[in-house]
């Protein structure tokens, strides 16, 4: 049984937040970190508390880098039992995930690549006003603890239209949903069976049928997860210019946008709606994932093999899919760019967390292979059109009859502006870290 009252809610529940704030924290001495943590544990939501009590207006999550665990006083012999990729941190492994060139950690903002980054406090709020209230409260709390400080922060807000989540390019977001075995969640049709809890939470059986060894002590690791944080700037002006270059009519542009993503901007998947958008399908969670590739679209005539969703979740066309699943949380930051406005140079994008039990097997695999392997599925010279490391030298092939269309030299629609690996401890572990016995 999942210990829902000990697991932080973050990967278990999608909260109805329209605003958020990430605060990146540093502790100059262990006592400062422990004092800060001790005062915040009671505000952290659990899998049991979130969504059952009276409607919440804010949801708090806290997580730590490996340097942060050390800064809180975890001893070296325990620190050594954490997996190598977590100990090294994302910046040291940037090449593996494709954070090179313009995406290199040297260019990241907010000091997240620094060894001084120790913790993150993630606030999801019902709206911007509630976020401001909590921000002020936390600033007051933090100012009372000498030795604890804010390295940087990021405010996030949903962008209109508000009926459902979108990102800045205009695509409907949050269409995939992972059901975890042992929770009340049911898998959506087409999404495959529920995933064993050990793929996301430490201390449980995973899809290998076994329970991997835990970092020590178990009080610290049990019910924990790893989070990969990515701040991804979206170059909306570049994206819209590209669509205009590739398509002379609105319909042609929308089709190109759909071929890049694998879904229409409404969310309707190309496998089920190959020639014409179907917004009702995009919004229907019982049907919008109900498709496969191997049987329904093996050659990619509907959904190109190199499109974003077919790379990020190849469904029936990859091995060991149950061991490669990821839970994504996060939202958009920066002001939306009005439809007819030219690029204004303001940074906007997605800042998200990818949750899993093994960063190297799940997150880094997805980035290294699915996203950035130019020869994924024998494509030869392609990378994920949105998340891949693009520098104008990679293509996207759109299979078509009688002759395929090749988009040559895709521009970078996004740039990684920050990233880090965090450990998301359970509540008992937070108490252990805070020195509460």
């Amino acid at each position: 049984m999942l210990e829902l009252n000990d697991i932080q809610h973050f990967l278990l529940a999608r909260t109805p937040a329209l605003a958020a704030r990430y605060e990146f924290l540093t502790f100059r001495e262990p006592s400062a970190g422990r004092e800060w943590l001790a005062g915040i544990i009671d505000k952290v939501g659990t899998g049991a508390s979130v969504g059952t009590a009276s409607p919440d207006s804010r949801w708090v999550t806290v997580a730590f880098t490996w340097n942060g665990l050390r800064a809180l006083g975890v001893d070296e012999s325990s620190l050594a039992t954490f997996p190598e990729e977590f100990r090294q941190g994302m910046a040291a492994r940037a090449e593996i995930i494709g954070a090179t060139g313009e995406n290199h950690p040297d260019r990241w903002v907010g000091e997240v690549a620094s060894s001084a980054l120790h913790a993150i406090a993630i606030l999801f709020a019902s709206d911007a006003a509630e976020r401001e209230r909590c921000t002020l409260q936390h600033a007051n709390y933090l100012s009372g603890i000498s030795g604890a400080g804010l390295l940087s922060s990021l405010d996030l807000e949903a962008i209109p239209p508000y009926g459902c989540a979108h990102e800045h390019f205009g695509y409907r977001d949050r269409l995939s949903h992972i059901a975890i075995e042992g929770t009340a969640d049911q898998p959506q049709p087409g999404s495959g069976p529920a995933i064993k809890a050990g793929e996301f939470f430490l201390g449980y059986v995973d899809e290998s049928g076994l329970q991997p060894a835990l970092p020590q002590p178990e009080t610290l690791s049990h019910n924990g997860s790893y989070l990969a944080y990515l701040r991804l700037q979206e170059h909306v002006g570049v994206f819209r210019d590209f669509l205009r270059q590739q398509g002379s009519t609105r319909d042609e542009q929308e089709l190109i946008a759909a071929k890049l993503m694998g879904r229409w901007r409404s969310g309707a998947p190309l496998v089920l709606a190959a020639v014409k958008d179907d917004p009702a399908l995009g919004a229907d969670m019982q049907h919008t994932n109900n498709f496969d590739y191997g049987r329904m679209d093996p050659l990619g005539y509907a959904c190109p093999v190199g499109s974003h969703i077919r790379r990020m979740n190849p469904r029936d066309t990859a091995e060991n899919m149950q061991r490669r699943r990821l839970i994504r949380r996060g939202g958009t930051y920066g002001p939306p760019l009005p439809e007819d406005a030219p690029e204004d140079g303001v940074e906007r994008g997605i800042a998200a967390f990818i949750g899993c039990a093994s960063l190297v097997r799940q997150f880094e695999f997805a980035m290294n292979v699915w996203v950035n392997d130019p020869n994924f599925k024998d494509l030869g010279n392609e990378r994920d059109p949105f998340v891949g490391t693009q520098d104008g030298t990679f293509d996207l092939t759109i299979p078509r009859r009688p002759i395929r269309k090749k988009l040559v030299g895709l521009p970078a629609f996004t740039t990684i502006k920050g990233g880090a690996y965090f450990f998301l401890p359970g509540i008992r572990a937070l108490r252990f870290l805070a020195g509460i016995r």
Partner: protein, 184 residues
């Protein structure tokens, strides 16, 4: 890679470390694709008295592939060569595989398949193989990497051609001959 000329045989001398420039993969340096594709040569001492069991496993794998010809497909192999040989009074096992994927990329899939097909039982007979490999894929992978000896020369008579491309060409040839036969 797509533009490599398969009609021109090619040899590649490889530096001692096994790569030309260090490119970090998830589990260590990645090795280049050569005219003889990707591959590895793993050499490890076997535990005393296990030779017979290892040899018997050859038969078991033969039967597994006979029963289910696609069983090793995810490894994208061209060839496997398993060899037992002596150094002094010790017995060593060599596992040489030629395949089309970068081992670092699909390494966990390979480990899963080794388990499925029982290839792991051979690894268990090797000295130094981690006992907790079932729940510790990184340790399994570390063992493989520590026992991998990079080639210093690789040659391809038809360089850089994948198994998929060869099979496609042979299918085409077969279809073409059948067509010619039917036109008689």
């Amino acid at each position: 890679m797509k533009d490599k000329d398969w009609t021109k045989p090619e040899a590649m001398a490889i530096p001692k470390e096994g790569y030309f420039t260090l490119e970090k993969g998830r589990y260590g340096p990645t090795y280049p694709r050569t005219p003889a594709c990707h591959g590895f040569t793993i050499i490890a001492k076997i535990k005393p008295g296990t030779e017979e069991e290892i040899r018997n496993h050859g038969k078991r794998l033969e039967e597994a592939v006979k029963g289910s010809p696609e069983v090793l497909a995810p490894l994208q192999l061209h060839y496997l060569r398993w060899v037992l040989f002596d150094i002094g009074s010790d017995k060593y096992f060599m596992y040489q595989g030629i395949f089309d994927t970068d081992f670092d990329k699909y390494t966990e899939d390979a480990v899963a398949l080794f388990t499925q097909t029982g290839i792991n039982t051979i690894f268990e007979k090797l000295e130094g193989f981690p006992e907790d490999w079932k729940t510790n894929a990184p340790a399994f992978i570390k063992f493989v990497r520590e026992h991998q000896w990079p080639s210093f020369l690789e040659y391809g008579e038809y360089p850089y051609v994948t198994a998929g491309e060869i099979k496609k060409a042979l299918r085409l040839k077969k279809a073409f001959s059948e067509m010619l036969d039917q036109m008689q």
